[in-house]
Symmetry: D2
Subunit: 375 residues, 4 copies
């Protein structure tokens, strides 16, 4: 038998292949899974924290409790949003609380070690929109029922915050004396979205949005179906006639995308979901694309109506014929800290939030219960 | 403002993080997409090829044409399956053709540079089952209509094979003089499946299967719903009451999984699909898991009937109460060579094979076509 | 203006149009909805009752309680199945209980005024299979959790039975003195299924089955997709390539059909559901046909494998190439007695049994909760 | 054995049961299917026809051709819409064409024997909206590709119109000499929709709409999910949190409802489809209700935003908190004339318009094609 020809493999984007390797035997193989659970390890104690809360006064007491704990017990620099800072000025015992001005807002990520969110999943979306480029790790506490992203309750907020600050692997059993071993962290992909107007001069600054859930192009209140061209780089993938189409992250797979019929994708899967909204075609199934996909949703020149684009449910604006949104993986993920193994945590959320497969244990209905035994 | 605390991140499986990095600014970011299209580059000319064909005599002429081209024009060592070798013994001009015996079968991957498949997608499944561990790159030609995996037609088989042998990036424009620049290759994940019998003694050799499409556990011909426990490592994810449940690769997402309602997942996405088959629960939506998931499908002790397991549609066998199948990513992917950019190729297959979104260009039905204009 | 031309409309099956009419104005209109809730009114007190129970001894006490109530308190002739009659022979106080022999079984419907079922929905399927042609009204009590068909609990079994016997509209407030006003009844359509063997001689008695839920043709344990031709009278509707296909009644729409993706159809809708099981086509959506449809599922001569047919989950048998099942509405519905308005009852079952839309009241996840107000 | 107790059954709406009967044997049975194909028979030759066409000049020639045929060859009174009448005034040879004024519009149905539609399905929706109460039979010709409702092509328009006028069963073989035997007709159910404003004084005239396809309540351009209460008479069925909810007729089941995931329901099935639009609940499956259902979609007082209602894609208007739409079967169906048996016709439309199950004949992909035979 001849000696086997030697080979190597290269990525077309010039990065080196880290997972795909050629073994000594000359065979192609995977060195390891491409994804994995990850731990964040502090090399030194974090000193500066941004605390965000849901609008409204519902959580005012918890808010003060958290601020005091961080500022007094942990001696951290505690930063809040300007509109909350104003309200706090009455509280004489909170002199350690600070805020930032408009100029400083864009540089916050250079100083803030982590972000604390109080409220529902919407508060994390708000954190994501505050940090349009790099964003520090986020730990979030739910005000009421736990969400997908807010999976810690306020009950043991001090213990959980201490565990984050001292970086223990198991937040439950953490003590100050323990060796620092890191906290579970999920780097949640965002999508970088760029609006490209047809009649844009070259020096117009482009509109740029980073979304944590999804970007949606839809017909808005128009009576006609939206007509949208979908491109991947230079290839026209398909033309959509539908209420709309969305591109979602795995994090967003359990938000609007699941309502439109998309699969639920674990946040550690590096992928972009392409989910049509009420397509007028029986065969238009949702599709899951690799994270290197570079997509464009374009309103064709012959569309009957303009369409609308929306980023994480906000900044809704019109897209004229010829306008487009370019979408690709952002290099700035939102790191979220969780208490448990992400997979267990995620399946728990599916059950808790959606009643996923909740009949599993019940008796099936309308099925035979008197028969002749197994075949 | 205080100086930001330094951090690092680690993978819990001990591999180093290749994509997730800490920037100079102290922020977490992605260095690049985790996936990418890849090229296979030969360091030297391949010399040994295995040629597989679909059962039956339909493609006999094409088969001889391919064997002659590879053996005579390209002077390669050409290997065929023993049952075909017998049939070929009549052909006096094919003395360069060789076969292998039972002992050699397990070492074929050490000698074969690449595999040529003639036939439908089933022929590639057959190649996958022949090479239960490492498998050389596969190039496949369709006998009739193109499939998902067999996307080259026999019409220009010599040109396409020459392009593979000489390793050109663009198979269409390839010439021998050209600098070797590699061929598009997709490393298709397989699942490593292990049957664990309840009453197995420790030294029983375990039954091991590598599947390219999916592993299915179902009720077979039993009148009752199958009852299946699904575990991820030590966590019970859910209990299924359904006709069955399957774990599929992205390659398998367009086979049985899509029939059961799963999303279509691009083969470059590193993921495992968890797709129920006719679940008796309204809320049991398909789920896409990361490639590091280690899953187990177990028949509980209180199940009414045994169940059946099936690997890529074959090796069907019974699972008794207490038996289980353990499933995880195999480190031995099936490398398939394609002529084009994988993404364009894949969307082409969706359209060609499924009529995916094929009404896109038609006029929507039953919708208003006389109205007052856009809102 | 000219005088309008007079018209009339006729049904093609020769029955007169009872709902579709021509108004005095010459316009076509509906006289009333085609369906409606219905009441059963006894002209005289029912005297003979058949009591069925689920196999096993779980419900033995409730069973005796029901038999004694009907026999002693209400002085009815109480009939039980032969195998239960044997077991009851020990009970000296049940001398009013009777059974039937093989010859009498086929004439039971001529004597039994109503049937009492104790057990799950399966017990009603059993009742349906006992009475393959005409079947008396059925009232059913659930042993454990309420089902779709068994929506009365055993707690107030005497009150509920008294209400049935004395025929009150509102079973809750019924008293003997009250004027008889009828009980809510649903006439549940069954399907009459006839196996037609290819090589059947003309005088072979045909196999006939009446199903309350569904008839299924599937691939059984075969590795290939089933290939099934679907005809409506003389028209080939479509060819299915799938795990199988089922024809279901509205009653069966919440059993296996919903697991295969079918819509849930209220039992008062006169329709036949045509639901594919894991079809290998993206565009094969379930279809709801009128009750006059006469359907045939046929295994074509070129099918790779035989298929299997199954009636309400039982009597599983092979269909060879060329064999077929002919299916049409049976004129013998199963009348089931319910306590409430059927629509309220049915929506209650959807929620109770499936958690239908059970997140309705919860907060949606991953959606914005801090925004700028409505548009 | 005792003599069986006599029974009868009554409809709760007071109409007599026409299909459900008590047999001589004392058993409940169906006398016949509740639905059936129907024929329209003219007692005398129709004399007055309304011709509608799609907006725009595309079909001008066909329009003139039809007008001349009806007016000159068949000597009918030909009526057109006022805006078309103006355009036709140039044509000197069309003096038989007439129109109507605003007052006459409401009485058109008293004079017009049938309506001819030229254009897509939208033209029939327009006809339906012109005749908000009774509407004469409609025969429709497609300008381009055939639709669901417009299933006749213009090619043989004269023959087809002659067949309608002379009332032949088989339009293809119709001749004047033939005995009149009627034309296939489908009485398409409409929904009668009534907006009920919260602060409406009792003598405000209510807004009433008849829809042929569907009535939709949705969130419009609001960022929040719509919150909608669904009532059937006095029972709260469910609360919806979704993009919206629609109530559709069987005719509308193949329009917007199918895009939202609804089943396809044959137009002869007397039913109302309750289809959620992107519901934020995994378990909210579409539901098919009987035609006697009386439904109400109500915006609750605690909804975050107002919602929007839309009738057959038109008359879009806001619903404030407390407002509602009441929906029930209209007694004024739209009678559409078809050339063939409705069932064959409908399945033909499914295939033609949607590619329903269009892979049936192709080879399944990714499935095994080399195996060991059937089990």
């Amino acid at each position: 038998w001849p000696k086997k020809a030697e080979i190597y493999i290269v990525r077309t984007d010039g990065m080196s292949c880290s997972r795909e390797t050629v073994r000594a035997s000359g065979c192609l193989s995977f060195a390891h899974p491409s994804t994995q659970q990850q731990l964040l390890v502090w090399r030194e104690r974090p000193r500066c924290v941004l605390v965000l809360k849901k609008l409204g006064d519902e959580q005012w007491d918890s808010y003060l409790r958290v601020l005091r704990y961080l500022g007094k017990e942990e001696d951290m620099r505690v930063v809040v949003e300007p509109h909350e800072y104003l309200k706090l000025s009455q509280q004489t015992d909170l002199n350690f609380v600070d805020t930032y001005n408009h100029d400083e807002a864009g540089r916050l990520h250079q100083h803030v070690d982590f972000v604390v969110c109080l409220g529902g999943d919407g508060t994390i979306l708000h954190a994501s929109s505050l940090f349009q480029r790099a964003i520090p790790p986020v730990v979030s506490f739910s005000a009421g029922s736990l969400g997908f992203l807010t999976n810690l309750s306020l009950q043991s907020v001090e213990d959980d915050l201490r565990a984050v600050i001292y970086g223990c692997e198991d937040l439950d059993q953490c003590s100050i004396e323990e060796e620092m071993r890191g906290v579970h962290i999920t780097l949640r992909m965002r999508l970088e979205c760029r609006i490209v107007r047809q009649n844009q001069s070259d020096n117009t600054p482009q509109e740029l949005y980073e979304v944590l859930n999804e970007v949606v192009v839809d017909r808005g209140a128009n009576p006609y179906l939206a007509k949208i061209e979908c491109w991947e780089r230079d290839t026209l993938i398909t033309k959509v006639q539908a209420d709309g189409v969305m591109l979602a992250t795995p994090t967003g797979s359990t938000a609007y995308s699941v309502a439109a019929g998309g699969s639920m994708v674990h946040p550690n899967v590096p992928a972009i979901l392409f989910t049509p909204i009420c397509p007028h075609s029986l065969s238009f199934r949702p599709v899951v694309l690799p994270d290197y996909a570079e997509l464009e949703l374009r309103i064709p020149g012959d569309a009957r109506c303009p369409a609308w684009v929306c980023f994480d449910g906000k900044q809704r604006q019109e897209l004229q014929r010829g306008d487009a949104v370019r979408v690709r993986m952002s290099t700035n993920p939102v790191p979220t800290i969780s208490k448990m193994d992400q997979t267990r945590d995620w399946f728990g959320s599916l059950e808790r939030c959606f009643g996923w497969n909740d009949r599993a244990e019940q008796k099936p209905l309308g099925y035979i219960d008197r028969t002749d035994g197994c075949s």
